[in-house]
């Protein structure tokens, strides 16, 4: 970002994750509403942001659907994407929601386990509430205080989820499952070794879900949303996957 000419201001408050960054961005915006342009990459925050992000991200699903029809001559049996705030996944799912034969699966960050603070799997472990102007599912305690989250992937490390995901989970149209840190790291290794593609740690959660699905559906066609590249994850991979390898 700096090479592109931006001045980057790191957030040092709270738990220094995406959630703290959104807190600070919203504060900055209300401090200077006439001079600030608020832009968020995830499908969270007050209306109309989740809707705007979905519309802009929906190019993923539209193109993937057309390419799938061209390449395979049919729709996939399953579409699998990772879910943090849920932007790539809502963009991927949107075009396929009316295709009822296509199974839609969102994979959340299972982190280190099921306990509060050990994961960022909001659909799996969250309850309804309001954060950042959105009524959705949240990782929170019984007093309504938002909990810190953990995931090896920074992009999934958020205690809420886009409101449309909460709706799709409640309606049953999308099934949500989790992948642990260790499983996601293994997903990174496998795609690197087998395909020469270095995926983002976030996207590796979708790979874990895809491997599970494929094992249960031999011969099926699966479409994976590979939402990001792993170049940005080098320091994390050195601390985790590559350290474990040396040991």
């Amino acid at each position: 970002m700096r090479l592109l000419g931006a001045r980057v201001v790191p957030v040092v408050s709270g738990d220094r994750t995406l959630r703290a960054a959104i807190d600070e961005a919203l504060r900055d915006w209300v401090s200077d509403p006439l001079g600030t342009y608020y832009l968020l990459g995830s499908a969270v925050g007050p209306h109309p942001y989740p809707y705007l992000v979905r519309e802009l991200q929906s190019v993923i699903g539209r193109e993937a659907r057309a390419q799938m029809l061209a390449a395979a001559g049919k729709l996939p049996d399953a579409l699998i994407a990772c879910v943090g705030g849920g932007s790539n996944s809502i963009g991927a799912f949107h075009a396929f929601v009316p295709d009822e034969a296509v199974e839609l699966i969102g994979v959340e960050a299972g982190g280190r386990g099921a306990g509060l603070g050990e994961n960022a799997a909001t659909v799996a472990y969250g309850r309804p509430g309001v954060l950042h102007g959105t009524y959705s599912l949240l990782l929170q305690n019984t007093d309504g205080q938002i909990q810190e989250t953990h995931s090896v992937s920074a992009g999934l490390d958020y205690p809420g989820v886009g409101p449309e995901h909460a709706l799709l989970a409640a309606s049953g149209r999308v099934r949500y499952e989790t992948a642990s840190d260790a499983e996601a790291l293994e997903g990174v290794r496998q795609l690197s070794e087998l395909e020469g593609i270095l995926p983002a740690l976030e996207s590796a959660h979708a790979l874990v879900g895809a491997a599970r699905w494929a094992q249960a559906h031999s011969g099926g066609t699966v479409l994976i949303c590979l939402s990001g590249r792993g170049d940005k994850d080098m320091s994390t991979l050195q601390r985790t996957l590559l350290t474990a390898e040396r040991a």
């Binding site: 709270g14 807190d23 509430g129 205080q145």
Partner: protein, 252 residues
């Protein structure tokens, strides 16, 4: 007199003496749970209305002072249930009490039992900075039963039509944010802010209180005649002796 009328009347009575009413904010449970009652009593002796802040992990409308106070209070286990218990023990403390809370702790407590529990603790109303007027019907209906106030906030960039809606929809008083921004900064009170406050006051049937960044006697003097009250928050949370700080805002 209903609880929400009690809030309006306390501000009007004070303003009738020629000085803006003092609406004092403190974060419940900061600096310690043990000292909450002592703090509240000290503030009650010097303020006309008290806002008790319910701590929240993500106080998006607050500056660094109240963020830190909120997290410190949460670390000590301050919760809405505890605050209501403490306030119940302090019933009859004097000035009307408002709870200032983000929406999620209220939802977690349960909107269904909130109004009755708050009224039983002597609370006269709520300020919920992350609840827009358009989304407030559920809480409003719950508070209506006990005639508790739901105070609305307006800002210098609020458009004319919206300003009219917010003033008409408010109860207790209209909270006029004196600047665009989070709480806690010092504001020099420029002429355009006074003009904005006059505009709010011209259309509001309720008393108008200015808040966000008020910390000096000079500011209070400058605001006199343009508002019915001033809200003092961050400066009070920072100070050692809230009673003394509030008295310093009064004329000598």
């Amino acid at each position: 007199m209903s609880p929400r009328e009690h809030v309006s009347a306390a501000i009007r009575t004070a303003a009738a003496r020629g000085e803006p009413a003092l609406v004092a904010y403190i974060t419940a449970g900061f600096p310690s749970r043990e000292r909450f009652r002592e703090h509240l009593r000290a503030v009650a002796d010097a303020a006309d209305v008290i806002e008790v802040g319910v701590p929240f992990t993500d106080p998006m409308a607050d500056g660094v002072t109240i963020q830190r106070a909120s997290l410190a209070a949460l670390a000590q286990g301050a919760s809405l249930a505890w605050i209501l218990e403490e306030l119940a023990a302090l019933r009859g403390i004097g000035p009307p009490l408002l709870l200032m809370s983000y929406l999620n702790p209220l939802l977690a407590f349960g909107i269904g039992r909130l109004a009755a529990s708050a009224a039983a603790s002597g609370v006269s109303g709520f300020i919920v900075p992350d609840l827009p007027l358009d989304e407030s019907s559920e809480l409003r209906a719950a508070l209506d039963e006990g005639k508790l106030a739901l105070v609305q906030m307006v800002t210098p960039v609020t458009g004319a039509e919206r300003l009219a809606q917010l003033c008409a929809g408010s109860e207790g008083f209209v909270y006029a944010v004196t600047m665009t921004g989070t709480t806690g900064r010092n504001v020099a009170v420029p002429a355009e802010v006074l003009a904005y406050l006059d505009r709010v006051r011209a259309i509001a049937a309720l008393p108008v209180c200015a808040g966000f960044g008020i910390r000096s006697r000079e500011q209070v003097e400058r605001l006199r005649g343009h508002v019915d009250g001033v809200v003092v928050g961050s400066a009070l949370v920072e100070g050692e002796d809230p009673g003394e700080f509030l008295r310093a805002l009064r004329p000598c």
